[in-house]
């Protein structure tokens, strides 16, 4: 009896130990990964037509590339707009996630669906005032039906909408995120699964 309990305790300790060890390793890798990727995103995105400090895309192909990244990062892609109250309300959750997991293999990307006429007068000051640290991309393709279903079959276009994916798993969250804790738990769970 005594022997069994000792073994269980040992297993438990080993489990805990390896779990911690694994996490610290991946932190190192992801720091380099993340910086490389953010460069790629901003480079392919330059569009001189708008005087804004973030990429403005209009081609569905560009957007789709965000959902087809082949690496070991977990992507958290949130569709929002400055005019969308629940979106603005949940942006701090995404920002906090980006900040807390910045040394891990997580990429938070905020895709603004604001109207092109609002990019300079609304989105630009918004991004500045809120000091958004996550990657912001404005996507201005107004032929919504041509691309919403491509992004996510289950999405009918209501925002906010959030897609979390990595090589192993994909989750679609329609509507508001419940809380920061819930978002983080979901991302964590997906990171562990991968």
């Amino acid at each position: 009896m005594r022997c069994t309990t000792n073994i269980s305790l040992f297993v438990l300790l080993v489990l805990l130990f390896t779990a911690c060890g694994g996490a610290s390793n991946s932190e190192v890798d992801s720091a380099t990964d993340a910086s490389e990727e953010s460069q790629t995103v901003s480079m392919q995105a330059e569009e001189p037509a708008f005087d804004v400090p973030f990429p403005v895309w209009s081609e569905a192909e560009e957007l789709m590339e965000l959902f087809e990244q082949n690496n070991d990062s977990t992507y958290v892609i949130n569709f929002w707009a400055t005019w969308c109250k629940p979106c603005v309300k949940e942006l701090p959750y995404l920002e906090q996630l980006n900040e807390e997991l910045k040394d891990e293999k997580v990429r938070v990307i905020l895709v603004s669906l604001d109207f092109d006429t609002d990019l300079e007068k609304k989105v630009k000051p918004f991004v500045k005032e809120r000091q958004l640290k996550s990657d912001v991309i404005a996507f201005i393709n107004g032929d919504y039906n041509s691309w919403i279903g491509e992004v996510e079959e289950a999405w009918d276009g209501a925002i906010p909408a959030t897609i979390i994916y990595n090589q192993k798993d994909r989750k679609f969250i329609s509507g508001e995120l419940d809380s920061y804790e819930a978002l983080k738990a979901t991302v964590r769970e997906m990171m562990t699964a991968s």
Partner: protein, 215 residues
Amino acid sequence: MKNVIRLALMLFVALGVWTAATTVDVSAPAEGLKVGDTAPDFQLKNIDGKMYSLESIAKEYKKEGKELKGYIVTFTCNTCPFAVKYEDRLIATHKKMAEKGWPIVAIQPNDPEVQPGDSMEKMQERAEEKGFPFVYLMDEGQKVYPQYGASRTPHIYLLTADRKVHYIGALDDNANNPDAVETEYVVEAIKAIEAGKKADPDFTRAIGCTIKTKK
């Protein structure tokens, strides 16, 4: 020793439960009407204080000696910028199509306690300002939009007079810019139905505001 193990086990179980509880709900596509289904009728209060149903609208047509061919049931509101962008086009579509037997039936699905700008009073103000030529009904208690499966504003369900659903989606293919519209989905769907054909497309997606409810 036993106690330590029990504690560790309890911790593990608790951790599992906690993770499960805090994991975000992954919503399945909302249940609701699909093309080919028969839409339910309703009794909702209009901005003029009178109650309306699809049946009562059909009766009005009959009384005036006109034939009602169908309904452009439109879930919309005052407060969503997309809904606002579509106001003028809803008015124009109603003016063009109502006399042909296809009136717009606008329903405001947001809970005014969550979205005060969508109260009956505000709906009346907005309708007055814009001169809405169609009924603008309040989904009191938010009982109608879930039966239809509407999830955003604006969200359109095109029904024939027998309340059969022929098209679900957006009014046209460009919310932002009326001048850039290439396909008026609803008008095209009506043309197809009148020609005895199927609407194509019979379903479109569009960006819109979530319908506001108490959590």
